[in-house]
């Protein structure tokens, strides 16, 4: 049988194993989701992604239902849209705040965006809120469980993507809380502070504490849309050889946070504690800000670029004149960009005609 089905009146093809949601997304259908993260096994918890399937008695969750030949699917009938709105009203009403600072995490605005799309008023249905801020002195992860909607994305990303199984679900129903084994501090759990749970959370319940230091106002919640003065720049993590892609968040000339790049070719959205949180060495007061030259008194003192470069060149010229070409050596960096390593070897080879060059891989 051919892999063909109908979505909103249009014949489309699908490949073996694809879910209705995946097929629909490929065809630019904007089905709302909350518990869905493309990197994780489908979960089917929030039911926001339901669609009308011909022949089925009730609507089906498109994120967990595999596409089969001949299916006829409608993604946004009036009934379905009304149902979604009611679901959202219930979710939104449970939350202390829906408009959270964009710095909380990569997906922190998802719930607010859906609320806007479905024009749900806050508060719609009034009711009790669900949980509290968990006291945890770790410097990276804010655990603001009042915003938790029990989508379990954090628990699943920790288990499926990280393989760490540091957090679980405690209690059932309304009292559901995301917590560590034995309900303790993250530090005392299997948590490696990779930050993945922060960046899959659709409400900002788990949030980037370190980035929030740069929030406009850390006490008041903010509008969910990305703040206009934050820029994102795609780059590669400066640490190990895996070469994870990250988006650097910057504001007024400062790096304020890191988002994992979900489409990073080497990491597909995964990061570790170093790539996620160890970025601010760049702005440390210890950074060298001017050239230094050793003076007659034997101390290093500040110098202009011109003087320092003259001094640097002069020393090589002297060594060359006195001891010959083979008295000069270069060591390139394994952390600087390739252009630096290339020019280091060119400096030695084109400059002195030797192969007296190495890099730091031997240690």
């Amino acid at each position: 049988m051919k892999h063909e089905m109908e979505i909103d009146g249009v014949e489309v093809t699908f490949s073996e194993g694809e879910t209705i949601l995946e097929v629909a997304q490929r065809h630019q259908k904007e089905i709302p989701t909350l518990c869905y993260d493309a990197r994780l096994e489908p979960f089917g918890g929030c039911r926001l992604c339901i669609v009308d399937l011909e022949g089925a008695r009730t609507p089906v969750a498109s994120c967990t239902t595999q596409a089969t030949a001949g299916m006829v699917v409608k993604t946004a009938t009036e009934t379905i849209e009304a149902y979604r709105k009611t679901l959202l009203e219930m979710v939104v009403s449970e939350n202390r705040e829906v408009d959270v600072d964009a710095l909380r995490g990569y997906a922190a605005g998802e719930l607010a965006n859906l609320r806007d799309r479905y024009a749900v008023h806050t508060p719609g249905i009034t009711g009790e809120t669900s949980g509290t801020i968990k006291a945890d002195d770790n410097p990276f992860i804010l655990r603001d469980y009042e915003l938790c909607i029990s989508c379990y994305r954090c628990v699943r990303v920790c288990a499926e993507q990280e393989g760490d199984h540091a957090i679980t679900v405690m209690n059932r129903g309304f009292d559901t809380q995301i917590t560590t084994e034995f309900d303790g501090l993250l530090k005392d759990s299997a948590c490696t502070f990779c930050g993945q749970c922060i960046h899959t959370c659709p409400t900002g319940a788990l949030a980037d504490k370190k980035a929030l230091r740069h929030a406009e106002d850390t006490t008041q919640p903010r509008v969910a849309a990305p703040l206009p003065d934050i820029e994102k720049t795609r780059t590669i993590c400066p640490y190990c050889g895996v070469g994870c892609s990250v988006d650097m968040l910057t504001k007024a000339g400062q790096i304020v946070g890191i988002h994992p790049a979900m489409d990073g070719p080497a990491n597909q959205g995964a990061l570790c504690v170093k790539g996620q949180f160890a970025y601010d060495f760049v702005h440390h007061p210890d950074r060298l800000k001017t050239p230094l030259v050793r003076g007659d008194d034997g101390e290093l003192c500040e110098a202009t670029w011109d003087d320092a470069l003259d001094r640097a060149a002069e020393g090589f010229r002297k060594a060359h004149a006195t001891y010959g070409r083979h008295s000069i050596y270069g060591i390139a960096s394994g952390r600087a960009p390739s252009e630096a390593a290339y020019l280091m070897q060119k400096f030695i080879r084109a400059g002195f005609g030797t192969n007296y060059i190495d890099n730091c891989s031997r240690a």
């Binding site: 993590c237 640490y239 390739s338 890099n359």
Partner: protein, 525 residues
């Protein structure tokens, strides 16, 4: 790595040796965890009971520095059990008959006497790996940082060649690189034996090509390695340019190293911080850091990717490439009039066959893994698919050798060194990121609780640790991760300079230091 990172989720049997992947390459380790969750078998060989060992189905706690013996024993079993891939051996390799004879001698029982790993477990490991449809090997510095680093790597190649676990999805011999652009530094020709793109300097053809490109004669002889260079400082070497490396903390035998750098007439260091090494320099030039400069880096799977600037430089800091150009121009060297990194990278691509199909624009999205021999080429995620670069894979008849120093009455404990998850290299970066101290504020020596008692130490107290080269004081931490008789520390903290102790020897071929093995003595303070 011979295979792409994405392959890590695909093997049936994974053999990790000398790699503390969950700490040193955490994101790569997530791939392995997925493979294991899917049902793959994991074999881990490491002197320490590291995180990976806890996840493994078979853990081989070998004595530090005994890897070659373990691998010879495994090869013996694979041959004895007839688990070879005959077709692969016949069509893709040479030297198997000699090798077959060579390994007949090295039984797992013999390997047990060297490694301390029960012969039964060596057999099981060999049978699992040898029977796998897709068997993959992963290793890091635990294999290479030995005087026998070359033999260790050759031994791994032998296993992969005899079982045909090369050039297919989910197989391969995969070293993981430690620094974000250490692969790129080698690719770019910062090596004493190779021009950019691993073109041997001893090949007349290559020499001609670069003589023409650079407009001058270049030696046909290989240069000297960094290790030799440090030995010749003050004698034959008098001036050195070091870019972004904290040689003093990261290299073994710190006293020797410091003495070497001090005896230079002229030392210029380019760095982002005033590191221990920079403090010895005559001229220190402030470089732009990550996030402040555009450039290219190549990861462990040979993927060429772009680094991008997003914030202005600190103070007057300048990009490394600019600084090197300025010095070169002052010396009257030709070919250093660059005004941005783009033409520099493009020049590298033109001169390097493995990058020939690349240029600054094409690597925008990081889609290419080298070799990319021409513009229409899609890149090479998996090496050796049809054939090896040099034709056929060669078996090596390796022999086991003891480490440069072995334990004795004076130094009765094995020290082995490495990295930790929360810190990186010499901590010039992670040590200056807020919050990291919460997770790891100081270095400590990991000692087995029984040994703590034996050497009259106390958990949480300081002890004196000495080797043939010097002594340091370090806090003791009781843990069963360390086996009896072996202790571990990282070299990341300046106040605990573990590399004052290491430096017993070097691999004679690669000149990689034996950082993983150092006999020491422990005494209470």
């Amino acid at each position: 790595m011979s295979n792409p990172l994405i392959d890590m989720q695909k093997p049936d049997v994974i053999f990790c040796i000398g790699t503390n992947m969950t700490e040193c390459h955490p994101v790569a380790a997530t791939g392995l965890k997925k493979a294991v969750a899917r049902g793959a078998k994991l074999i881990v060989a490491d002197p320490r009971r590291i995180g990976l060992a806890d996840m493994s189905h078979l853990y081989l706690p070998l004595r530090v520095g005994s890897d070659t013996a373990l691998l010879l024993g495994m090869a013996h079993v694979i041959a004895r059990e007839g688990l070879m891939d005959e077709a692969f051996i016949a069509t893709r390799t040479v030297g198997f008959d000699d090798f077959f004879e060579h390994i007949s001698e090295w039984t797992p029982e013999w390997a047990e006497t060297i490694t301390g790993v029960p012969a039964k477990d060596i057999e099981t490991a060999a049978i699992w790996y040898g029977s796998a449809d897709k068997g993959a090997i992963y290793y890091t510095l635990g294999i290479t940082e030995h005087i026998c680093g070359v033999e260790n790597v050759q031994s791994l190649c032998n296993l992969a060649l005899m079982t045909g676990n090369v050039g297919r999805e989910g197989t391969g011999i995969n070293p993981m690189r430690g620094q974000n652009n250490i692969q790129g530094a080698g690719d770019s020709g910062a090596l004493p034996n190779n021009y950019p793109g691993f073109q041997a300097v001893t090949e007349p053809e290559n020499q001609e090509k670069f003589a023409a490109a650079y407009g001058r004669e270049i030696d046909m002889e290989k240069g000297i390695t960094k290790v030799t260079a440090l030995e010749l400082c003050g004698a034959e070497l008098h001036a050195m340019l070091i870019d972004g490396e904290n040689t003093l903390l990261s290299d073994p035998h710190r006293v020797h190293c410091e003495h070497a750098l001090r005896s230079l007439a002229h030392l210029v260091v380019i760095d982002i911080f005033l590191t221990e090494t920079a403090q010895l320099a005559d001229v220190v030039l402030p470089a732009t850091a990550w996030g402040e400069t555009d450039g290219v880096c190549t990861n462990t799977e040979r993927r060429v990717q772009r680094l991008r600037a997003a914030v202005p430089p600190a103070g007057e800091a300048k990009p490394d490439w600019w600084i090197i150009c300025q010095i070169a121009q002052r010396l009257g060297f030709k070919g250093f009039d660059f005004d941005s990194p783009k033409p520099i990278f493009n020049e590298l691509c033109r001169l390097s066959p493995i990058y020939a199909g690349l240029d600054w624009e094409r690597i925008e999205k990081g889609e290419y893994q080298w070799p990319v021999p021409h513009k229409a080429h899609p890149g090479t995620p998996r090496l050796h698919e049809e054939e090896f670069i040099n034709g056929r894979g060669v078996f090596s008849n390796v022999h086991y050798r003891d480490p440069a120093e072995t334990i004795s009455a004076a130094f009765p404990v094995w020290l082995t060194t490495g990295r930790r998850l929360q810190s990186y290299h010499t901590r010039t970066q992670t040590g200056r990121a807020q919050g990291i101290d919460y997770l790891l504020s100081e270095e400590s020596l990991e000692v087995n609780p029984a040994d703590i008692e034996k050497w009259q130490l106390a958990n949480g107290e300081w002890c004196k640790m000495s080797s043939a080269r010097g002594s340091i004081t370090i806090k003791v931490k009781a843990t069963n991760r360390s086996p009896r008789g072996t202790v571990f520390a990282s070299f990341s903290f300046g106040d605990v300079p573990v590399n004052l102790l290491t430096g017993s020897g070097y691999d004679p071929v690669t000149h990689t230091a034996e950082l993983k093995v150092c006999p020491v003595r422990l005494e209470p303070l």
